[in-house]
Amino acid sequence: MAQKKIINSKISGRRSRRVTFNPKMARRSFLKLSGAAAAVTTAALAPKLTRKVSAGTDKKEPYPGSKKIKTICTYCSVGCGIVAEVQNGVWVRQEVASDHPVSRGGHCCKGAGAIDMVTSEKRLKSPMKRVGGKWQKISWNQALDEISKKLLDIREKNGPDALHFNGSAKVSNEMAYLQRKFAAFWGSNNIDHQARI
C-alpha cells in the first residue's frame, strides 16, 4: 500500500521532470520526497524512486564535464552509498546508489540531504574565540598558537591529566586512531568518545 501511495504521488507521477537532490530543487518536492522516505522507512520504495531518478538524468546532461564520486553517508552506521556529482570543484547534486549492496538506493531524509552538509549557510566559516562574551573571528594561526600555548602551560602547571579529550565517532578510522594516539603522546588516558554513552 505504501508503495502504491508513492507511485501515485506527484513526484513519481511527473515523469518528465528531472528528480535530483539538487539544492535548487523545489523545497516542496524535497520535503515530500524525504517525508515519504521517513514515513515509510523501507527501501521497498527506493528502487522505484531510483529508477525515476536515473530515467530523468539520462535525458539531459545539465552539468557538463562533471564527475561522479562514490562516497558514504555520514549519518548512521548502516553505511549507505552516495553518488556525488561534482562540477568544477562544486558538489552540484547527489544521487542514490541503487547498486550499493547494503543500502540499495535507500536513503532516509537525512542522507537524502547529505549535500546540504557542504552547502549549508550555517557552517562555521573561520576560527573564533569568545572575547567579552562575544564571538570574535580570528586566524587559524592565532587560534592554534594560543590554544597550544595554553595547553602547554596547563600541562606544565597541573600535569598532562589536566586535559580531557572527547573524540569522535563521526571521523574516519584514521582520524579516530590519531585522536587516541594523540592522548598517548600527550601522556594521559583522559580520552573518550560517543561509544561510551
Binding site: 550555517k122 590554544i147 594521559s188 588516558n189
Partner: protein, 715 residues
C-alpha cells in the same frame, strides 16, 4: 554485530529490544522487512514505547524501562525448562550453562510479570515463538545499554542466543545496530579511556606493543605521563568527564581537569546537562572542533572557548567501519569549504605546536593512507591487518559486484571476497569474516570459532570445574586440531598472535586451518563481574520501592574511571513520591545525535522543528495537560526543561519520552543569541538531557538515560 544487516534477510525471527531502527537506522529496515515478508519471520519488538519500529512489528511487547535482564532471563528459563534449548550447541560450545540455568530459574513467568509488567502468558508465548523459529536474530541498541545494569542486559541477550544455538549461523547472531556512522571504527580504534587501539588495554604489554608499532621508545612515552601508575590507570569517560572539573563526586586524580578538547562530539548528549554547563565556566580552556556551531558554545560565560571549524567528512577522505564490521572508503567529494580545515590538518598543526610531530608522524607521510597502514600493522586482535587501504578502496569502487544476499563478490576484481572485508580480515588475501564464530566455513574462507581468551579451565563459585575449550570434534573444516585449542603463541619466540608484528603467527594459524585466537566456549559466567550471571537489579532511580528491597542496586564504586560513582547510596525508595514518572529518551529519524548538523539543515528542521515530551493521554488528563501545551519536566537532579506536550498512547501512563537532539534553549531561556552571529541552528529547543538522571553502568559507566525519574507539570 556478529552478522551483518544483509544477513538478517536469512532470519526466521527478528527480536529487537531497545532499538528503534525504523527511525535510527531506516535503511537497514529493508533487510528486516524482507525477513518479515519473505520468510514470514515474526518481528518481536520489546520497548517501553510504541515506536515507529513497533508499528512494523508482528509482536509488540511493552516493557518497564530497565527490566530487560529480568525479561530475557525469563525467556531463557522457559527455553531451558521446556527443553527447547540447543543441546548440541550448549554441550560443544558453551561454558557455565548449569550455573546460568540456576540463576535463570528464579525468573518464572510470574516473577517476570511483576518486575517487567509483561504478562506471564506473553513470556511463555514469546519464548515458544523464539524456540520454534530458528535461526533468529537478536538486535539491540542504546535502549538495552543505557542502564546501571546495561552490561548485564547485553550479556543476557547473548546468553539467549547461545541457548537457542543461534550463534555463528546465518540468520542468527547478536546484532547491535551501532549509532554514528563510524562508531564501530572509532570503538575499534579505542578512542576510549581504558584501552589502546584494537582493544589492547593499557597494561605494560599493550603500551610496549603500540610503541613498537609507532616506532617510539617506550621510556619516552612513559616519560610523557605523570607517572607509570597513571599510564595504567583508566581515564575519565565521556559520561563523567565534567566531574573531573566540578568534583561533586570525589575524584581520584592528582589534578582536576582544567582544559577540554571536544572534537566532533555533541555536548548535549551527556546526561545532567546543567552540570556540564557548570563545568564550562570552571575550565581554563575549551577547544571545540566541529563543522557547525554546537550546543556547547552557547553554555558558560567565560572567555575560555575557541571554536575551530573542521570540514565535514565529505571534504576529506578515509576509511570507516559500518555496523556490519565492513570497511568502506569515504572518498573526498570537494575541498574544505570556507576557511575550514580537515581533521588531519588541524591535528597536524596542533601536534607541531605541541612539539612531538617528528615522533607522532614518524611512519606517516601520505595522509590518510599511511595512517591506515599503521593501523593495519598494529591492530591484529580484531584482524584490521588485512584491510589495506587499496583493498578497501577497491571494494567501495566495485560495490555493484557484491551479492545482496551473501555479500560476496560474484566475479570482478573482488571475486569471492565479502563486501567491505568484514573484520577480522586476517591476511592480505583473506576475504573477510561475514559471520563471527561460524564453524561451518574454513577460517581462511571467513569461518571462526569462539575466542579462547579466558584460560583453558575454570572452577566456578559452586565448586564445579569446567574445560573452557570447545568440545572434541568441534572445529572449522580443515582445522589441524579437531576440537578446542588455545590461542597461538611463540611461533615467533616471545610473541603471540596479537603481538607478532611480522604476522607470521597469524599466517601460520590460517595455514593450519585454525583461528589465531584459539577455539573455545562462549561463557555464560563472567567471574570478574559483580554479577557473574546477569540478574535483575532495580534502576538507581526506581519507580518501584517494593522491588528495591528485593533487587537492590550495586554497592558504590569509589574509583570508577577516576571518580566516585554512587549506586546504593543514590537509590532512594522515596524518590518516586516526588518524581513519579519514568523518563526515557530516544531518536527521531529527521535528526542525528546532538543535532548541530541536522538542525542546521532547513529541510530537516522544517520536518521536525520542535522538541516535545510524549505523555500518555490518561496522565495528561489527570494533570490537566492538553496536547501542544508547554510543560515543565523536572529531574531529581535539579534540571528542568520546558517543552511541548505530545499527548499520545505511544507511551504508557508511567512513562515520559523525549527526543534528545535539541539545544539552543536551556531551562526555559533562549540561548540563540549566544551562538556566533548567523550560525544558530534553524530548529532550537530544550535538550532532553537537562532532565536525565544520575546513574551509570557498573562496568562501562555508560549513563543510565533510559530509566530515570521525573515530574511533569503544566508550564
Amino acid at each position: 554485530m556478529t552478522n551483518s544487516l544483509n544477513d538478517i534477510r536469512h532470519s526466521k525471527l527478528v527480536f529487537m529490544i531497545g532499538s528503534n531502527a525504523a527511525e535510527a537506522h531506516p535503511v537497514a529496515m529493508q533487510h528486516v522487512l524482507y525477513a518479515k515478508e519473505v520468510n514470514n519471520a515474526p518481528i518481536i519488538v520489546v520497548d517501553p514505547r510504541f515506536t515507529k519500529l513497533a508499528a512494523k512489528a508482528t509482536d509488540y511487547v511493552r516493557i518497564r524501562p530497565g527490566t530487560d535482564t529480568a525479561f530475557v532471563m525469563g525467556l531463557i528459563n522457559q527455553i531451558v525448562s521446556n527443553d527447547w534449548y540447543d543441546k548440541d550447541f550448549v554441550r560443544a560450545r558453551v561454558a557455565g550453562f548449569p550455573e546460568m540455568c540456576k540463576v535463570a530459574s528464579h525468573y518464572t513467568p510470574d516473577v517476570v510479570e511483576d518486575i517487567t509488567g509483561i504478562p506471564a502468558s506473553e513470556v511463555v508465548r514469546i519464548a515458544k515463538l523464539m524456540a520454534t523459529h530458528r535461526p533468529g536474530t537478536v538486535v539491540w541498541c542504546m535502549g538495552g545499554t543505557q542502564h546501571s545494569i546495561g552490561s548485564s542486559n547485553t550479556r543476557a541477550f547473548c546468553i539467549l542466543q547461545l541457548v537457542l544455538g543461534n550463534m555463528g549461523k546465518s540468520g542468527g547472531g547478536t546484532n547491535i545496530f551501532r549509532g554514528h556512522d563510524n562508531v564501530q571504527g572509532a570503538t575499534d580504534m579505542c578512542v576510549l579511556s581504558h584501552s589502546l587501539p584494537g582493544y589492547y588495554g593499557i597494561k605494560d604489554g599493550s603500551w610496549k606493543h603500540w610503541c613498537r608499532v609507532w616506532d617510539v621508545d617506550y621510556e619516552w612515552i612513559k616519560s610523557r605521563f605523570h607517572s607509570k601508575e597513571y599510564m595504567n590507570k583508566k581515564g575519565f569517560t565521556l559520561a563523567r568527564w565534567y566531574e573531573g572539573v566540578n568534583q561533586d563526586d570525589k575524584i581520584n586524580q592528582y589534578t582536576p581537569i582544567k582544559a577540554l578538547i571536544q572534537w566532533g562530539c555533541a555536548g548535549n548528549s551527556n546526561s545532567m546537562l546543567h552540570r556540564v554547563k557548570k563545568a564550562m565556566d570552571k575550565l581554563e580552556l575549551v577547544v571545540i572542533v566541529d563543522p557547525f556551531a554546537p550546543a556547547m558554545c552557547t553554555w558558560g560565560e567565560k572567555d575560555n572557548v575557541y571554536l575551530l571549524p573542521c570540514s565535514s567528512q565529505y571534504e576529506t577522505s578515509g576509511s570507516l567501519t559500518s555496523t556490519s564490521r565492513q570497511f568502506q572508503w569515504r572518498f573526498k567529494v570537494v575541498d574544505p569549504i570556507y576557511e575550514s580545515k580537515d581533521d588531519y590538518e588541524i591535528m597536524a598543526e596542533l601536534v607541531k605546536r605541541l612539539g612531538f610531530a617528528d615522533k607522532f608522524y614518524k611512519n606517516i607521510k601520505k595522509v590518510p593512507e599511511d595512517i591506515t597502514r599503521e593501523i593495519c600493522k598494529g591492530t591484529l586482535t580484531i584482524g584490521y591487518n588485512g584491510a589495506l587501504p587499496e583493498r578497501i578502496k577497491k571494494h567501495t569502487l566495485n560495490w555493484h559486484t557484491f551479492d545482496i544476499d551473501t555479500l560476496q563478490a560474484k566475479g570482478g576484481p573482488c571475486d569471492g571476497e565479502y563486501y567491505g572485508l568484514p573484520w577480522p580480515c586476517w591476511t592480505e588475501t583473506h576475504p573477510g569474516t561475514p559471520i563471527l564464530y561460524d564453524i561451518s566455513k574454513p577460517v581462511a574462507k571467513g569461518g571462526l570459532p569462539f575466542r579462547a581468551r579466558f584460560g583453558t579451565k575454570i572452577t566456578y563459585y559452586d565448586g564445579r570445574t569446567e574445560d573452557l575449550l570447545a568440545a572434541k570434534g568441534v572445529a572449522n573444516p580443515g582445522s589441524q586440531v579437531k576440537g578446542g585449542y588455545p590461542e597461538f603463541k611463540d611461533i615467533v619466540p616471545g610473541t603471540n598472535w596479537k603481538t607478532d608484528l611480522s604476522q607470521k603467527t597469524i599466517k601460520e594459524a590460517i595455514k593450519r586451518g585454525m583461528a589465531p585466537f584459539g577455539n573455545a566456549r562462549a561463557r555464560c559466567v563472567v567471574w570478574t563481574f559483580p554479577d557473574q550471571v546477569p540478574v535483575h537489579r532495580e534502576p538507581v532511580h526506581s519507580p518501584r520501592p517494593d522491588l528495591i528491597a528485593k533487587y537492590p542496586t550495586y554497592n558504590d564504586k569509589p574509583d570508577q574511571y577516576r571518580v566516585y560513582t554512587r549506586f546504593k547510596s543514590e537509590q532512594n525508595p522515596d524518590l518516586v513520591k516526588k518524581f513519579p514518572f519514568v523518563i526515557i529518551t530516544g531518536r527521531m529519524v529527521e535528526h542525528m545525535g546532538g543535532g548541530a548538523e541536522t538542525r542546521s539543515n532547513k529541510y530537516l528542521s522544517e520536518l521536525q522543528p520542535h522538541v516535545y515530551a510524549e505523555i500518555n493521554e490518561r496522565t495528561a488528563n489527570n494533570l490537566g495537560i492538553r496536547n501542544g501545551q508547554m510543560v515543565w519536566i523536572e529531574s531529581p537532579e535539579g534540571g528542568r526543561a520546558k517543552v511541548m506536550a505530545k499527548v499520545t498512547d505511544r507511551v504508557d501512563e508511567h512513562t515520559i519520552f523525549l527526543p534528545y537532539h535539541f539545544a539552543g534553549q536551556f531551562e526555559g531561556k533562549s540561548l540563540v543569541d549566544r551562538y556566533p552571529e548567523g550560525m544558530a541552528p534553524y530548529a532550537v529547543g530544550e535538550p532532553a538531557n537537562i532532565v536525565t538522571n544520575y546513574g551509570y553502568d557498573i562496568i562501562t559507566q555508560i549513563q543510565a538515560t533510559k530509566d530515570g525519574l521525573c515530574n511533569v507539570k503544566p508550564a
